[in-house]
């Protein structure tokens, strides 16, 4: 499996986990809710780890792949900083203006952290696809 495909699948798993947590907290607490959440999170992590083992083996010293990873990571870091800053700044404004707005509507900072972590995976996958394309990763040849 290609690395970019793996990151897209992991982003999908992260989205499902996020939805599961959202559903668990928003729905009234019922006995199987916590168990479903625990099993769901564990299953997601196990699937992600199993799929990681099935990704293609690439040479350690391939400088083009290092460059793609470096550039993607750097751009992701920049976007993450902007996301964190935006959330933090808007949280401060809402808390000052409306008190418990975030706790009521966004389940507090831990959930926002989860959203940001999910966004980081999506952004990293997107930049990786962009740079792979830029540095000829999807070209084909007569060979």
């Amino acid at each position: 499996m290609k690395r970019n495909t793996y990151f897209i699948i992991v982003a999908g798993i992260a989205f499902l986990e996020l939805s599961l947590i959202w559903w668990m907290i928003k729905s009234p607490p019922r006995p199987p809710g916590k168990e479903i959440l625990a099993i769901g999170i564990a299953a997601g992590i196990i699937i992600a780890l199993l799929l990681k083992g099935k990704t293609e083996d690439l040479p350690e010293g391939d400088e083009r792949l290092h460059l793609i990873n470096e550039k993607s990571a750097m751009k992701t870091l920049q976007i993450t900083w902007i996301l964190l800053f935006s959330f933090a700044a808007s949280s401060i404004v809402f808390i000052v203006e409306r008190g418990d707005f975030f706790i009521k509507h966004f389940l507090g900072f831990p959930f926002i952290q989860m959203i940001i972590l999910f966004a980081v995976i999506v952004v990293f996958a997107a930049f990786r696809i962009y740079y792979t394309d830029k540095y000829g990763g999807y070209d084909s040849d007569e060979e």
Partner: protein, 63 residues
């Protein structure tokens, strides 16, 4: 930067895969270099030219 990798590969009867294995990169990297989408580092450029037993400036040249 342009290069003659394709010509030298043909002269040495090598596939992209062969050259990639020789210098320790992926075939996609060799393809990207040949197509001018990626400029190799100095060390990779030397490795490639050494594989063909020629000087680096015979394989790579600035256009």
């Amino acid at each position: 930067m342009k290069n003659n990798i394709k010509v030298f590969r043909a002269m040495n009867d090598m596939t992209q895969e062969d050259l990639a294995n020789e210098v320790g990169v992926t075939r996609q990297t060799i393809l990207a270099i040949e197509k001018g989408k990626y400029d190799p580092s100095l060390s990779l450029a030397f490795k490639i030219s050494r594989t063909f037993n020629v000087n680096v400036e015979e394989v790579f040249f600035y256009d």
